[in-house]
Each structure stands twice: as structure tokens, then as C-alpha cells.
Symmetry: C2
Subunit: 448 residues, 2 copies
Amino acid sequence: MNEKLPGYKGEALRILESLGAETGDFIRIEKEGRVYEGILMPRSELGDDKHIVIKIKSGYNIGVRITSDMKIEKKGSGAKPSFTPPPPPKQRPDLPRVVIISTGGTIASRVDYRTGAVRPAISASDLYSIVPELSDIALIDTEILFSAFSEDLTPKHWTKIAERVAEHIRRGAQGVVITHGTDTMGYTAAALSFALQNLPVPVVLVGAQRSEDRPSSDAAENLIGAVQCAANAPFAEVVVAMHQTISDEAIAIHRGTKVRKLHTSRRDAFKTVNAELFARILDKKIIMLTDDFNLRRNDRSLVLKSRFEEKVALIKFYPGMNPKIIDWHVEEGYKGIILEGTGLGHVRRECFSSIRKAIKNGVIVAMTSQCIWGRVNMNVYANGRELLSIGVIPLGDMLAETALVKLMWVLGQTENLEEARDLLTKNIAHEFSSRTVEPVEPPETVSV
Amino acid sequence: MNEKLPGYKGEALRILESLGAETGDFIRIEKEGRVYEGILMPRSELGDDKHIVIKIKSGYNIGVRITSDMKIEKKGSGAKPSFTPPPPPKQRPDLPRVVIISTGGTIASRVDYRTGAVRPAISASDLYSIVPELSDIALIDTEILFSAFSEDLTPKHWTKIAERVAEHIRRGAQGVVITHGTDTMGYTAAALSFALQNLPVPVVLVGAQRSEDRPSSDAAENLIGAVQCAANAPFAEVVVAMHQTISDEAIAIHRGTKVRKLHTSRRDAFKTVNAELFARILDKKIIMLTDDFNLRRNDRSLVLKSRFEEKVALIKFYPGMNPKIIDWHVEEGYKGIILEGTGLGHVRRECFSSIRKAIKNGVIVAMTSQCIWGRVNMNVYANGRELLSIGVIPLGDMLAETALVKLMWVLGQTENLEEARDLLTKNIAHEFSSRTVEPVEPPETVSV
């Protein structure tokens, strides 16, 4: 392994070493009458030893297969990034003050062509050089809090983020943007929705499905939308800002408790579930899609409730699921379990005695649906009714992911079981779409 | 508790007992100048003692609150069902022979007004009396296999269903319909897609979101569509037939490996994910929406591979998930684990050593995405690449639920790990939408 040629091995490594090349160099390959020119890219550790990968002018990477008659030469040394970042634009102190907190993820990363390493590009001047439009929208301050893949974030990170957001708001920020990996951005958005109460300004999570150095990137558009929102939106809630469609037309603003990543790669992967979309940015204008929101205020009297209990599990039910999985969590000292049941909120009868035991042991067990859309209603079928009588708490139309986060938060606020149950079923941050979590009578019964 | 008045207690029970009433009786209540008449219904065990529930003429249940000035009388004894089922229509032996196998669920259930019990109504004459149109479509034979809530079905039930379907087809059925609870119908559809190979005729799963005795029921329309499909469709595959929209216009025919219940209660809850819809029934016509399907044949040479390994788990990842959950499954002797990771197929690094240990112990670990739409691609980010190098198998655009069922099936077919891995990544029943499960090079790299 050559540190200057990460990922290269065998024949490919030998050829590149004989040229004295390193990643970031400008390379020219002639093969079968065609010429390929571009920046030498690092390989993944899984790559073979038969290709050399270069980034061609279009921005795409191509792997050139090594052949015996191929000609290769190094035409220039690690010249990228070829530009010196332009001097930061003049900041306008009349604009709203927005803080951008970086936690990592695709949106904050750029591949360093010299080393092949991914690094967060989040100093204010870096940001302005990538997205100069930002200087016309807000006076921006930046903080690198983490540089993590979002799947590695835990409830402890949520606490840290909430604390930093609160600190910046108390110091006068008129809006906060959090750049975040998209994988678990929905979970973090829910966490901040519960942890930051009585917010005076918007808190906007934003990510990118494709990194900034790829031609199809959504990073710049999303970031501009998020900063617009933080600087100027009339609401004071925790939201997620991402592409509304696969085009660059509109940015959707989702409420933090009702948003879910529903596609692995599309730019419009995030969707609001079981609620209307909260707002939209079109032609640089923020259009509210509901009247029912908390207004932006000038005071700084937010309430920070940032503790999360980590001994809470999300268990997705499937046919034949072993009830011992529930017992194991109880034995490990878990204090809460969110079941992701089938349909209106069911699991197999075989699980009932383990659930009963868990609840007798003081574990809070609550029900959501793996259907994603709709609401649980455990009064319709006998299995649902029996689960209710055992003490399972139905969570209406709350997303399973939001329910997990909320139960972690609830058990971080109180150790009193009755209080915890009350808090769990109370609408704190629009996690329930209607006020009634569950009709008391069966659904087609009208009380007269 | 009075067995003739299930669910009633306290004051409500006392009043009804004094009338000598039982559920199923015709009751008249006069209260505040209004009259309520209908069939006395049972209560759920969770009901209060302050309401009497009757089914009024419209089919809806109403709960009448007991007041001191209310007048109540019993006008007739358990008269419902008031009709004698009409004689079964004349069967037409020229029509295709279709077998309807009942496994339970809403579609097969009718509330017995006399007892309040839910019972399967699936003898051929019962069916014809409920849905007389069926006699014009097919010559129908019926079998009650189970009478279960679908969340209680396990892989053993899938085996049993597959065996019965095979038996009926070998005996000459020209199509098979399986009535099924909707909660886990997608899982069963996937199971039969793998277990029934080289099918000569269609196998159609059908359910209902609302039971047949409710005015908004989708049961009859769905059943008619399913029988049409079984009798006349040009394909020979395992499919699910359910409402395509919330209206009664069209029945959607979904491939068994690509279908998911995506709403708790809507009639159009089932959707095809990561593929085009397979077919549609509109105005009694079956419209194929793809050319790529297995044709119906006259031979009976199907292949039954109905064994499923139950020691396979589906683990949905969430932020902060305890890696010991994976260890526990290994210690319990699990042979396969489907991870439902985030985004393109990730879990936190903290889980890597447990996953490595599981794989070293001969457990097959494969990756799907909780995004539902899109495909996993573990070459893009370092965490994904490391999971690949540990030996986690990426499952492209396969649904997590289908992946679970497939791994259960694969490990029911072979104990050889290499064979199992091959089978898992091979396209058996259109569970992958394209032939390449995962590009070997990173996604924006083109090999030249």
C-alpha cells in the first residue's frame, strides 16, 4: 500500500509508482486509439488491480482497464483544487445572523483531490467560495461540531447538537442551519423537535444526496434554501429542508417529527408522512402551507430539554418473530420498547406473554405500524384489543422512528412511569396529526 | 360476565339482563325525543358500562349512552342473519376451475350477530350468497385451511399453504385464490413466490381492509378481481390483488415479491415498490402492464420448494442500536440476519465487530434499506465499503420483508453457505428489478 496512491494494488500500483504519480495528478492514457485525460482518483479498498480511475473533465470518474499496449503519462502534479479560493465576499452586517453547524455527511464533504480524503468544507470562507449566493442572504457564522457519517450519530450527539443550537440562539442567532448526513437526519430532526422547546427562531436541518463535487449535486440548492429559511422564515420550529422534486425547482420544508427518508438516492428522498407539507421555497420565496405554526419571536427564552435515555429499542415485528427478543431487552435493562407492528398495530399472540412481562417490569411498550402511512387502531381486532388490555400504548399516526426518539426523550425527562406515559401520548411537536391519539370507541361507532 | 351479552358490564349489563336481551336481538331505544333501532352488538372488553351498542340499518354501529330517562325495549330475538342463504346458483362446468383457500383475515370473516364471534364464511355456497357474481366467472371449490389473524401466521403456515396450492394445481385447478389477512399478506406473497416454482397457473392472494359486513367494504370487489385473475389471467405467477385506488374502479395486481402494505386502513394500502405495477383489472378486463411474465400453461409440472428456515431475523437499525442484539441472535443459533440499514445500506461502525463475528460463525448477513424505495449501494461511503469487506451481502432494491422471506427460504433449501449466498443474490422471482444486484465499480465510474 502506497499512501500517495490509496486503494491501488498489484499491477495498477506498479505502473503508477513507475510514473512517480500520486492521486490528484493529471494523467493522460492512450489506449486503442482513444485518449483519456483527468485527475488520478483513489480507489476503494475493494477495487481490483486492473483499472486506473480518473476523474474526466465532465466530472465523472472512469476506470481505464490496464492493457499491455496502453500508453500512460503524468502530465502535471496534484494541481487540484486548481483555484485559490476567492477572498470571502464582503459580509453585510445588516443581514440576519445565521449560524451553520456542521455535523458531517455528504453536504459538508468535499473529496480532497491531493489525498483522496473526505474533509468537511465548512469554514465561512469555504462556504462562500462554494455557494457565493449565501452572502446575499445572511451574515453567516460556522461551527464544525462533528464530522461524522450520520449512521454513527447516537442520542448523545443529539444532546450535543441541541445544546449548541440553544447556545447560538441565546447569543443572538436569528436562525440555525445544521448540515447533516441524510441517513439519520429524520431521527435527529425529531430529537431536536422535542429537545428545543419554545424556540424563538427556525432550526433547519439540511443534507445532500449527492456530494458537492459531483455534477448532479443538490448540495448548493439545499443549503441556499436552508439558509433562506433560517434567515427569513416566519416560523420558529425544527424543520428539514431538501429538494421537493428531482428538479431544482422547489425546496420542501418538512416538520421535524413527520419527515422520513423514503428513497436511498433520489434528491427528493425526504417526504412528509401523515401530514401536509409544512412549507415550500419557490423562486426564493418561502410559502407557508399551513396556518398552524409557532411564530418567530425576538426574545431568547427557549427551553432546552436535551436528555435522551439510550436504553430504548425499536423492534420491527415480522412473521414468526421470536418473543425472546423482547425478553432480552428487558434483561438488558431497557426502559422502553417501540414495536413496529403490522397493519393497525399487531404482533403475534406468541409475543403477548413477553410483552406482559416487560410491562410488569416497568418497561414502557408502545405500538406503531410498519405500514408507515395511516394510524394504528388497536380496537378493531381481538389481538389489538388484547395488547391494549396488557398495557401497550397506541401511538396514533406517529412515525416509528419519531416514536423511538420521543420515547428516548420522554424517559430522559422523567423516571415516573405515569408521567412518562402521559408525556408519550401528549402532542408536543406535532408528532400526532390530530389531537385524539386513538378513538376510545371502535372506529365506526358514533356516540349519541 | 354474561355469555349472551359479551363485553357488557355494570349498569349496561344490568339493564340488558332485565330485558332478557342477548346480542343479536332487535332493540329499540328512545332518548331525548329520538329513536334508535338496531341489532344489539357485543362490546369489546375495554368498553365502558355506560353505552349500549347497536348496529343500525345503515350498517353502522352506534353507542347509545345510558341515561335515566331513556326507554329501552327488546322488539325481537336474535333474528340476524334474517335471511336464509339463497340456494347456491347453478354452477357452470364450462367455466375455469378455481380453488379458493381461506387462511383467515378480514376478507373471510363475518360477525355472527347472534354470538358476536367472528367466523370464516367460506363454503362455496356462503361465498355465492355474498358475492353471486362469482358463479359467472369460475367454477369454484373452497378449502378452509386456517382461520387466523395474519400476524399470527409463521413460516410453517407458508409451507402448508404452498403445499395445498401445489396439490390443488396438480389436481387440475386452473387458478388458485388465497384469502388472507392483509397485515402480513406481502410476506406470504413473497414466500409463495419462492416456494412455488415453474407455476402453470396464477396464484392470487387477496384480502380486505374492511370486513364484508361493513358498508365501505372492499371485500367483494377484491374477491371478484382475484377470481377473474385466477380464472383468466394470461400469466402464471404469484400475485396480490387489491384495490388500486380508494374508489371501486380498478383492482391492482402486484407481483408477490415487490408488494408492500403501505397504509394501515385505506383500501389502496398495497403498492408495488421499486417496479412497475404488474397488471390491472378495469371493467372486468385484465390489462398486463409488462411483457415480461411467465405464461399460463396446461401442464401441471410445477416445482414445490416449500421449506423455510425459521432461524432468520430481520433487524431494523436505528441510531445508537446496541450491537449486542446481533450477538444475541448468533448465540441463539440464528443462521441468517437481514439488516434494514439506513440510506444506501449502512449501520453504525460500533456494530461492525458483532457483524464480523456473526459472519465468522457462519451466519449470512445481508443488507436492505429502511428507505423502502431505491437500492442499496455500499460502494459509495467508507462505512458501506467496510461492511462489504466484512462480508455483508448487498441486496439491491429488494424489499426488506421480501429479503427476510427469501433468506428463510434459501436456508431452507441448502445448508451450504456458498450455495446459499449465490441463491440469495440470484433473481428467482423478480425480487430484484434489474439483473445486476450491485455495480462492482462505484456508481459514477464507467469502465472503458
